[in-house]
């Protein structure tokens, strides 16, 4: 018993199957009938599943290196790049999401340990915790995305309301939006509203809106006038004054174009990087759901380890994404 254990040991348990004879081809004379177990020598000293997942991960390293590399190169090659608060990124939320992913990395490690120790129910519990933490990460990410969308920051062109600079194109876009029938209707209603029915905030916004309309309809606008318009519509948030609101915040139905220098390229890279990362999270969550339907005993330790390796990699990518996107 002992001898056979050691021999199969070097074959990672594969050698007990008959297909190992075909794999290496040595000693085909059927010695096993005399009680000798054939030795299977794999190319690399690790199991097939683990080799495959590591090969896959090394391609993933390249995939994310290309994405992160192009982000860094685009960012430092640009003349202007928005500060995190210009694009309404919340650093504490990003840090919280980092914490969530680190926790999920720990829970999946604990799940693997429990499975190895033949405590299947505990392994399942840790796996469930990993699934919930991963979902929490996605939920927070979704909330962040919706905050971007509400400020008109979209990764694609017709929906995006972000302009690079306060130039004539921007002025005409604001004019076009103010000329839409639905907006004209709303503006008329706003102008007719008696002053005592509006809050001081809304009153101030109404005055600045009339100023914006005057500037935009003027035929010879100076760049500085349009900068004033952009500032009234959506001021570039300062680090301290996150809550400062422009016309778009006071009247959410306005949805006027806004100026964020460097904002369009920022949106492309942000949504691409976090989007691909989120897709990886979703794939991981699907794997966890499938694993939850199984008995997570020592027999499944290899599968859990592979899923864990993948999940740690997803965590690893976020470790770099968080400072690059939120703090740089």
């Amino acid at each position: 018993m002992n001898a056979s254990t050691t021999l199969t040991g070097s074959g990672h348990g594969i050698s007990s199957h008959d297909d190992s004879h075909g794999d290496n081809g040595n000693d085909p004379s059927g010695h096993s009938s005399h009680g000798l177990v054939l030795q299977y020598q794999p190319g690399l000293p690790l199991s097939r599943g683990k080799l495959i997942i590591w090969l896959f991960l090394s391609t993933e390293i390249m995939f994310f290196a290309a994405l992160l590399g192009s982000y860094v190169v685009l960012r430092f090659g640009a003349l202007v790049w928005p500060k995190p608060h210009h694009v309404h990124l919340s650093e504490p939320i990003g840090a919280f999401n980092t914490f969530v992913l680190i926790c999920s990395s720990v829970t999946i490690v604990l799940s693997l340990e429990a499975a190895k120790g033949n405590r299947a129910s505990r392994a399942k519990l840790w796996m469930l915790a990993t699934l919930l933490l991963g979902s929490l990460f996605l939920g927070v990410k979704g909330y962040e995305y919706s905050a971007k969308f509400s400020h008109g920051i979209y990764p694609w062109s017709p929906r995006s309301r972000v302009f690079e600079k306060p130039d004539l194109y921007y002025g005409s876009a604001v004019r076009a939006r103010l000329g839409e029938p639905e907006i004209i209707e709303r503006l008329k209603k706003l102008d007719e509203t008696p002053e005592n029915q509006l809050t001081t905030e809304q009153l101030r916004a109404r005055t600045s809106l009339s100023q914006v309309r005057k500037i935009v309809l003027n035929t010879d606008q100076q760049p500085f006038d349009l900068a004033v318009v952009a500032d009234q519509i959506m001021p570039l948030a300062t680090e301290t004054g996150h809550g400062e609101s422009g016309l778009n915040d006071t009247f959410t139905w306005l949805q006027l174009p806004a100026v964020i220098p460097g904002g369009t390229m920022w949106a492309s890279t942000y949504f691409l990087l976090t989007g691909f990362h989120a897709v990886h999270v979703v794939v991981g969550l699907i794997v966890f759901v499938i694993l939850l339907t199984m008995t997570l005993g020592p027999k499944r330790a290899g599968t859990i380890e592979a899923a864990g390796l993948y999940w740690h990699f997803v965590d690893l990518v976020w470790i770099f994404l968080f400072p690059l996107l939120y703090l740089f």
Partner: protein, 175 residues
């Protein structure tokens, strides 16, 4: 080291194959029968799979995350020199990545194949980023006048800041 590791793993899988998933209560005695062969391996498994060690790594990761988040706080002393913060954050991130790879991904205890897979991939990753520099990284050095007209420039940012400052100073200009 590596053979011990494998032996223990193989024996675990054999246990489960032999007795099915129902060995939960009797799993330990089965191990004891093999003890002569894999007792050193077993202790090693415990050494590197210790939950205490994972918890230690977890706390280290939390502290490192707080450290990189610290660059965002007003107490960060190099606020006027962003490069210091960038280098600091990248150093912290690399440390965190190393901790995750070494401990959570068990690379610390793997055999030498780990170098075959990770080092070429890491080198290619660095080359990939470097290859982007001439075309994309330096794109704003050799840009046509027409393109420059439509690009956001630092002057645009200053213009917006000026407009904002003016509004702060004279909030009544809106009349």
């Amino acid at each position: 080291m590596q053979t011990h590791d494998e032996t223990s793993r193989a024996s675990t899988s054999e246990d489960s194959q032999g007795h099915g998933p129902f060995t939960s209560s009797s799993g330990q005695p089965v191990h004891a029968k093999h003890s002569e062969d894999n007792s050193p391996a077993h202790s090693e498994e415990h050494q590197h799979g210790g939950i205490a060690k994972y918890m230690l790594v977890f706390f280290a990761l939390c502290i490192l995350t707080t450290m990189s988040f610290f660059t965002y706080s007003p107490y960060w002393p190099w606020r006027d020199q962003p490069h210091v913060g960038w280098i600091f954050m990248m150093a912290v991130s690399c440390t965190k990545a190393l901790l995750v790879v070494l401990f959570f991904m068990h690379v610390l205890w793997e055999a030498n194949w780990k170098y075959v897979l990770t080092i070429p991939a890491a080198m290619m990753a660095v080359f990939l980023a470097i290859m982007l520099i001439p075309d994309i990284g330096l794109r704003s050095r050799m840009v046509s006048q027409e393109r420059l007209l439509h690009m956001a420039r630092p002057s645009d940012e200053r213009l917006l800041e000026k407009a904002h400052a003016q509004r702060e100073e004279h909030p009544t200009t809106a009349h």
